[in-house]
């Protein structure tokens, strides 16, 4: 398998972009990434999107967006794994180049969550759950996160305030990121005073839905060295699944797909979790952040919440997390989120993260998760020496 690198990145601000249709924000991100790569064209397009069919009455995004970008004729396909679509599309692009089948590819994540509003949007989001046995009972992603959070707090005797540090960290970093949906910092006490979405999950536990598009351009590393000054290598790529419905899991408070995917990736990379300098995890809900940190081996069972402190997850901390705001403050743009994570890790490794820079970042880990952990896709990135 050939070595693959990222040679171009692009993103649009995550926001409620009422004025812009899906194809417009997608082509904006694509143009920025293509320009950044120096390439005039690409061999294949992998679109990351979870809900365009439900939200915008639009499927067949591969062909649509290739044509929109003036590249009709190239190979183009959409990849879907709920909110892990970003990581999934990146993996497919990576495998296509690593196999030798193609030399260059673009991964283009895009989501237009605002094309539907209100309870109909919640129903659309619920299609990432088990439709028959969870959604049909009135479940939403927030409700299922709440079931996990309630159980966690009960089993480990953890108060709600213990989770505040994750959101406060995310908002602090988001305030420094011009592409972030929310630039406000969370003042002490705001977390505890937040209205409930599904008890005990409050407004400040749950990441906001936003419209957004992000893109990365990949090339075989041999070609990459000649194309751009700072290629970023994909050192590892690994995916795993878990049962979709929470009630089918043997151990609900262990995100098995997160563990499996990360272990495979760390083994491919030949490193341990301690070697990772910067992390972008799927903080759609604070409980998932705590559980992911446990599943990644950074904390014992029931102790993930103890990492919610600036000296650990802050930019200067030992395990910098959500360095540009994470899903919580940068915003959660559905299938595009995994691509935003990748763009952010690349910025860190290029030393181009500005006010969000983690000093000396050399190894980055981006993990894209679908739903409540049904899919987990991990990528480990390093600068090309």
């Amino acid at each position: 398998m050939r070595d693959v690198s990222i040679i171009g990145i692009g993103q649009t601000p995550v926001a409620e972009s009422w004025e812009q249709p899906l194809r417009e924000i997608a082509s904006q991100a694509a143009q920025i990434a293509l320009h950044d790569s120096g390439l005039k064209g690409i061999d294949a397009l992998f679109v990351a999107n979870m809900l365009a069919g439900e939200l915008s009455r639009q499927e067949h995004l591969g062909a649509l967006l290739a044509g929109t970008m003036g590249m009709a004729g190239i190979e183009a396909v959409r990849v879907e794994a709920a909110d892990a679509s970003g990581g999934a599309a990146l993996r497919q692009a990576y495998l296509s180049i690593a196999s030798g089948a193609i030399d260059t590819a673009m991964v283009l994540g895009v989501e237009k969550v605002t094309d539907i509003v209100g309870s109909a949007r919640l129903s659309a989001m619920a299609t990432s759950l088990d439709a028959e046995f969870e959604a049909e009972q009135g479940a939403t992603p927030a409700a299922l996160a709440a079931l996990l959070m309630q159980r966690y707090m009960h089993e480990y005797n953890v108060p709600l305030e213990a989770f505040a540090g994750f959101s406060e960290n995310a908002h602090f970093n988001g305030s420094l990121n011009p592409y972030a949906m929310y630039r406000n910092k969370l003042r002490p006490g705001m977390f505890a005073a937040a209205p409930a979405v599904a008890t005990p999950v409050g407004l400040f536990d749950a990441a906001p839905d936003g419209d957004g598009a992000a893109a990365v351009v990949l090339a075989a590393t041999d070609l990459a060295r000649d194309l751009v000054p700072q290629p970023v290598r994909i050192l590892a790529s690994a995916a795993a699944s878990d049962t979709l419905a929470l009630h089918q899991r043997k151990d609900m408070l262990h995100l098995a797909a997160v563990t499996r995917s990360a272990q495979k990736a760390l083994m491919q990379a030949g490193i341990t979790n301690n070697d990772v300098d910067v992390l972008e995890l799927h903080d759609s809900f604070t409980i998932l952040t705590a559980l992911a940190l446990e599943a990644l081996g950074y904390a014992g069972r029931g102790e993930g919440h103890t990492l919610a402190r600036p000296e650990i997850i802050g930019l200067q901390g030992s395990r910098p997390l959500s360095t540009f705001g994470g899903l919580k403050a940068r915003g959660h743009a559905g299938g595009a989120t995994g691509v935003y994570q990748t763009v952010e890790i690349v910025l860190q490794l290029r030393g181009a993260a500005g006010a969000n820079q983690v000093p000396g970042a050399r190894i980055g880990l981006a993990q894209s998760v679908g739903g409540l952990g049904g899919t987990a896709i991990t990528h480990i990135l390093v600068p090309v020496e």
Binding site: D130, Q137, A142, L144, A146, L147, Q150, R151, A198
Partner: protein, 145 residues
Amino acid sequence: MEIARHWRLRKQRYLLPEAGEHPVGVYPIAPNGKSARSANGHGAVVTIEAEQSTALQTQVRTGTVYSYTTVLNAPADFEEQAPYVLALIKLDDGSMLTAQLTDLGEEPYIGMQVEMVTRKLRTDGDAGIIIYGYKFRPTLAVANA
């Protein structure tokens, strides 16, 4: 209007006492290469356990609350019911399912004893069918004469 999908699920939703009618929706590949659905013969959804044991004759309809939440932001067709309580129920046969709690006279709590009842889940829009299914209520004490 989604008629076929709800018609297919009617037995699971009412938890009728037929062998293997367990609301799990798992179709494991059996060692003989046939899917569990065809192996069973009458199209019932079966679990791996049901295939291997003939003991699943009585539906377990009681259990305890494993976790619960009060849902304030409801998806389409559920807004009228909001706020409602959604729970993970650990049935007395050890299996788990997701269902609403109903007829709550008190605050729910983890470990609360509950029993299955048939309730309306939602209406399929303005013109669609009324969808019934299972919810769980605090187990009623049986009066002794």
